[in-house]
Symmetry: C2
C-alpha cells in the first residue's frame, strides 16, 4: 500500500538545498557586513570584504581551470589567506588540501603527488621547504606566493624567496566579486583533504564533505557554548583538521577571527586583552605556554576565556593554573577522521563541588558524543559488541555519524578497514564509564604488556605529571627478556628542577601498582608534533634500539 506521507512530497529546489558551510559565510556577509571578520596585525577586515575577497579568489581559481575534482594545496600559517582559501576553494567545487607546515619535504612531496595538486599557495615563511618538496614531486602545480604584509617584525625566521609565478594579492585581484559559487552539487561533495600524520607507512588522505563541515558549524558552537559574535584566537593550526572546522563555524555567529602566525605567549596575551578573545583551542602545550609565560609577557583581562583542549587529558596542575589565569578549560577528543573534535567532556555543575583531584579525574575523561555525532561506542573490534559500561573493560572507541570522514582518498582498502562493521574504528582504546562517558586508556600500540599484564602508558604518565618538577613526559614499552616489555619513561623537567631516576620511580610507586612503574627513566626533551602531540614512535624506537 502506498504511503501518502511519501507520495507527491519530493525534494525540489524550494525545500531541499545541499548543506554547506559556504551558506554560513553568505549569511554572515548579509547579516553582519560591517562586523569585523578578521584581525591580523594592523589589518581589520569586515565580513563584507572577507566574502568579496573569497569570491574574487574563487573566480581567479576558476579562471585557471580549478573546479570539481581538482585540488588546491596550501602551505600557510594562520593568516587571512588561510581563512580565505577555506571558503574560496570550495566555492569553485575544488577540494582544499592544507599542508602541515612542520612536515619535511619528502612527505610534502608525497602528499602533493597523491592529492594531484593543481594550484599551490605558499607563505614565504615556507618557500625554501616547499621548493625542496616541489623538486621531489611529480606534479607541477601553479605556484602562488603569499607575501603576508603583516609578517611580524620580530619574527624568529626571515621570509624566504618568492618561488611561484604569481603573487597572491595580484592573483586574487584578477578575480571578480560577482563570482557565483559552483558547489556543492550534492552535500556529499568533498570539501577538503587532510592527511593523517600516520606514524607508520604513508600518510592517508582523509576526505571531508560539505554536509559534515556544515554540521560542525552548529556542533562547535554548542559544544563551546559560543554566543553571538565570539572572538576566536587562532592558536590551533588551520592545517589540523581544518582548524577543527572553526574557519567555517565562526561565520554562523558572525565571529571575529584573530590570526596568529606563531603561538607565543606575548602575542596570545596581547590578543586576549586587546581584542577580548572569548575562545581559543589547542593542545596542552599551548596551555603550558600560557601558564609558564614570564610575567612581563602576561596581560590582565577581566573576562573569562574558554580554552578547548584535546590530544591529551589536562593534568590537575595545569587545570588549576589555567583557572587561576582566567581560563575555562573544555576537554575535547577526536581524530582527523572525525573533523577534529567529536567527543566533548560535557561538564556538570555538580562536579564543581568535587575536590580538585576528583574534578581532574572527571575532566580527564574524554566524554560523550559531540552534538552532531550520531553515536559513540566502545566495542570489542572482533565481536563488535559494546563493552560493559563498567569503566574497566577496555575496547576500541568507535564512531558513527555525519561528522565521520567520507573515507581515505584512493585507498579503498584502508577505508573498508576503518569502516568495518558499520562503525569508524578509531584505533584508540578506552572504557565506557557507567554514566556513559568514555575515557581513553591508550592507543593499541601504546599499551605496554609486561609479564602478561596490560599497562596503560597514560596511567603511568598521569602519575608522572603529578610530580611538581615534571614539565612533560611520555611512557613507552621497552623490550625486556624477562617481562616481554617494561615501561620506559621519558621525562622533561621544569627549568631549574632536578630529579633522579630513583626519585621518579619512588614517586610512581607511591601512586601505582609496582608492575606499572617505569623500570627505566630517561631525562630528555620530549619530541612533539606541530600540533603538540607527543611523538611516541620516536621514543618507542629509542627504547627499542637502546638508550
Amino acid at each position: 500500500m502506498s504511503n501518502p506521507f511519501e507520495t507527491d512530497l519530493d525534494r525540489n529546489p524550494a525545500n531541499y538545498q545541499p548543506l554547506s558551510p559556504l551558506t554560513h559565510l553568505e549569511r554572515a556577509a548579509l547579516v553582519f557586513p560591517d562586523h569585523t571578520a578578521m584581525i591580523h596585525g594592523t589589518l581589520r577586515r569586515s565580513y563584507r570584504a572577507f566574502f568579496a575577497r573569497c569570491k574574487q579568489l574563487a573566480s581567479a581559481l576558476a579562471d585557471e581551470g580549478i573546479g570539481r575534482g581538482s585540488t588546491v594545496s596550501v602551505m600557510l600559517s594562520n593568516t587571512p589567506a588561510m581563512l580565505e582559501v577555506h571558503h574560496a576553494v570550495p566555492m569553485t567545487g575544488a577540494v582544499l588540501h592544507a599542508l602541515n607546515t612542520r612536515l619535511d619535504a619528502t612527505i610534502l612531496a608525497f602528499q602533493l603527488d597523491h592529492a594531484d595538486c593543481k594550484v599551490l599557495i605558499v607563505d614565504r615563511e615556507f618557500s625554501e621547504l616547499v621548493r625542496n618538496a616541489l623538486a621531489q614531486a611529480k606534479v607541477k602545480p601553479l605556484v602562488i606566493d603569499y607575501d603576508d604584509p603583516d609578517f611580524p617584525e620580530d619574527a624568529p625566521f626571515a621570509k624566504g624567496p618568492c618561488i611561484g609565478t604569481r603573487d597572491y594579492e595580484e592573483f586574487l585581484a584578477g578575480g571578480s566579486e560577482d563570482f557565483e559559487r559552483r558547489a556543492p552539487v550534492d552535500e556529499w561533495d568533498s570539501i577538503s583533504l587532510n592527511y593523517t600524520s600516520g606514524t607508520t607507512g604513508n600518510p592517508k588522505g582523509v576526505v571531508y564533505h560539505h554536509r559534515g563541515a556544515a554540521l560542525m558549524g552548529y556542533a562547535n558552537i554548542i559544544a563551546s557554548g559560543m554566543a553571538r559574535h565570539p572572538v576566536y584566537l587562532w592558536t590551533l593550526p588551520m592545517f589540523h583538521c581544518n582548524g577543527w572546522c572553526f574557519p567555517w563555524t565562526l561565520a554562523v555567529l558572525g565571529g571575529t577571527h584573530v590570526c596568529l602566525r606563531w603561538v607565543r605567549a606575548k602575542a596570545m596575551y596581547d590578543a586576549i586583552a586587546d581584542h577580548r578573545v572569548t575562545h581559543l583551542c589547542g593542545a596542552p602545550i599551548v596551555m603550558s605556554t600560557l601558564i609558564n609565560a614570564p610575567d612581563a609577557e602576561k596581560r590582565d583581562f577581566s573576562h573569562t576565556v574558554s580554552f578547548n583542549t584535546a590530544a591529551a587529558p589536562p593534568p590537575e596542575s595545569v587545570l588549576s593554573q589555567m583557572a587561576d589565569a582566567g581560563f575555562e578549560v573544555v576537554h575535547l577528543y577526536g581524530l582527523t577522521e572525525t573533523y577534529g573534535p567529536a567527543v566533548v567532556n560535557e561538564w556538570k555543575a555538580a562536579w564543581d563541588e568535587l575536590d580538585p583531584a576528583a574534578r581532574t579525574r572527571m575532566k580527564a575523561r574524554q566524554g560523550v558524543r559531540y552534538p552532531a555525532l550520531e553515536d559513540l561506542s566502545v566495542r570489542d573490534p572482533e565481536t563488535m559488541q559494546p563493552v560493559p559500561s563498567d569503566g574497566e573493560t577496555i575496547g576500541e572507541v568507535m564512531f558513527r555519524g555525519n561528522i565521520v570522514m567520507k573515507g581515505y582518498l584512493k585507498n579503498p582498502d584502508a577505508s573498508a578497514e576503518a569502516f568495518a562493521g558499520g562503525w569508524f574504528h578509531s584505533g584508540d582504546l578506552g572504557v565506557m564509564h557507567p554514566d556513559g562517558y568514555i575515557q581513553l586508556k591508550d592507543r593499541s600500540k601504546d599499551i605496554i604488556i609486561s609479564g602478561g599484564e596490560n599497562i596503560s602508558s597514560i596511567e603511568v604518565e598521569d602519575a608522572l605529571y603529578k610530580h611538581p618538577a615534571i614539565q612533560s613526559c611520555a611512557v613507552v614499552a621497552r623490550p625486556d627478556e624477562k617481562w616481554g616489555e617494561t615501561p620506559c619513561a621519558f621525562v622533561e623537567l621544569k627549568p631549574g628542577a632536578a630529579l633522579s631516576a630513583d626519585e621518579v620511580i619512588a614517586h610512581c610507586r607511591s601512586l601505582l601498582a609496582r608492575f606499572k612503574c617505569p623500570r627505566t627513566v630517561v631525562f630528555q626533551a620530549v619530541p612533539k608534533t606541530s600540533t603538540g602531540k607527543i611523538q611516541k614512535y620516536i621514543l618507542r624506537q629509542q627504547a627499542r634500539e637502546g638508550l
Copy 2:
C-alpha cells in the same frame, strides 16, 4: 574523467546517519539524565524518565500497529503528554498530527479524515468537542483519554468525560522502555503534519520531515541565543507548527520545559520567578497579557527573559513596556510551511543607540533568513525576478531551504503552486531594504486598493496603534462605489478609554496621507485565532456585508 574525490568514498552506516531530532533527545538522556526535562504543576521529570516514557509510549503505539505511514492525532494542551508524543510518535515511524484545540468540530472532523487518523489522544479539557468531531468523521481511531493529574484546580473549565477506550497512563505503562526506534529510514521521512488555518477552502496539511526538524534544533538555539540548560515556558501552543520545533530543540541543550495549560498572567509570572524561565515565545497578545497584568499577579525577577514574538510587528509602546518589565523581545517571522520561524530580526548593537521610535522601526522589520534557511528573497511572482533592495518595491516573500515543508498532504496541485519556480511562495507581500532585511507590507489579500492606489493595511494599523487609547485594531477593505475600496478600521479600546470615530480619523490624518486614512471606524472587540492572529477574514466579511 573520473573524480577521485567521488570514487570509493560512498555513504555507509559509519559516516552517514539520517538527521533526526530523535537523536537530540537520545543525547540529552545520555548526557543530562538527571537534569529536569519538564515541570508541570507539582511534577518534575528528568531526561532519563522523559526518554524512558517516550520509548514506552512508542512501544505501546507500535503494538497497536502504528508505524510508517500511519497518523497519530492529538488534541492536547501544552502538557507533558504533548511533549511525549512529539518524540514517541516519530520513534515508531508514524507522523504526529497535533490538532488546534480552538477549532470547531467540523474542521476537526475534516482533518481527522484527511489525515487518516489511526490513534487519537485527547485531553479531557476537549473531550466533548472531540466527541462531536468523531461523530462527524468517517475514521474510527483508537481513542485514548489523557487525564492530566496536574489539571489546575482553578481551571476556568471543568474536565470533560472520558470518551476513549484507553487511558493514556495505562496505555503508556503497557509499553517497553527497551523499545528501539524504527525511524527515520531516510532523513526525508515525514515527522509531523500541521494544518494551515486557511481562511478560505479546506485547510491544507503541511508535512515536515526529520531533516528539517533536526536542523531547526540548531537554528532555534542560534536565533534565540540559548546557552546550555535554557528554561522554556510553553506559552506558544505546541499545536502551532509543533511549537516552532522547540519540543525537539530543547533536548540539544538539555533544557527544561515548563508546561502551561492556559496562558494567564499569574501562571506566567510565577513560572518566570520560580523556575527562572529564560525563554518564551508567543504572539503579541501574550506580551499584552504580561504587560497589562494586575500588579497582584506580577512577580519580580532579576534575570533577563527572552521573548520571541511573531505574527505581527511589536508596537513601540509594547516594546518599551516589555523592556521595562525585564523582557528582551526578539521579532521572528515564518509560516506553518517553514516549520515556524524562518526569518529573524537579527538585532545590531548599533541600533541600541537609536531613539525609541527609530528602534521600533528597526524592530518592526521581519529581518533576515534564519540560520538554517538557505535563501530568502522578495520577488515578482510573475517574472520571479528579485525586487530592487530599495525598501519600497513590493514583491512576494519567498523561501528556499531545508526548513521548508515537503509539501501539502494529498494535494499535489497546491504543492506545485506553492513551489512554482523553485521557491516557496509565502503569499505575504513585502519589501527588501537596502541592508538585506525584509519587511512585510501586507498579505496580498490585505492590500486595500482605493482609487487605484495601494494602501497597506499594516501601515494604517501602525498609525492606529500609536494612539494611547487603542488596545487592538485591524484595518480591512470596505467595498465603495466611488473608490473601489476604502479602509475600514475595527478598533478595540483599552478598558475605560473613550474615543470617537472622528477622533480616530483625525489621529490617522496627523500621521498618514489622507487617502490612506479609514473612512469607517467600528468600535468592537477584534476577533483573534488561538495563536493571537487577528481573523481579518471575519472583519472583511463584516465590512463587505454591512456594518
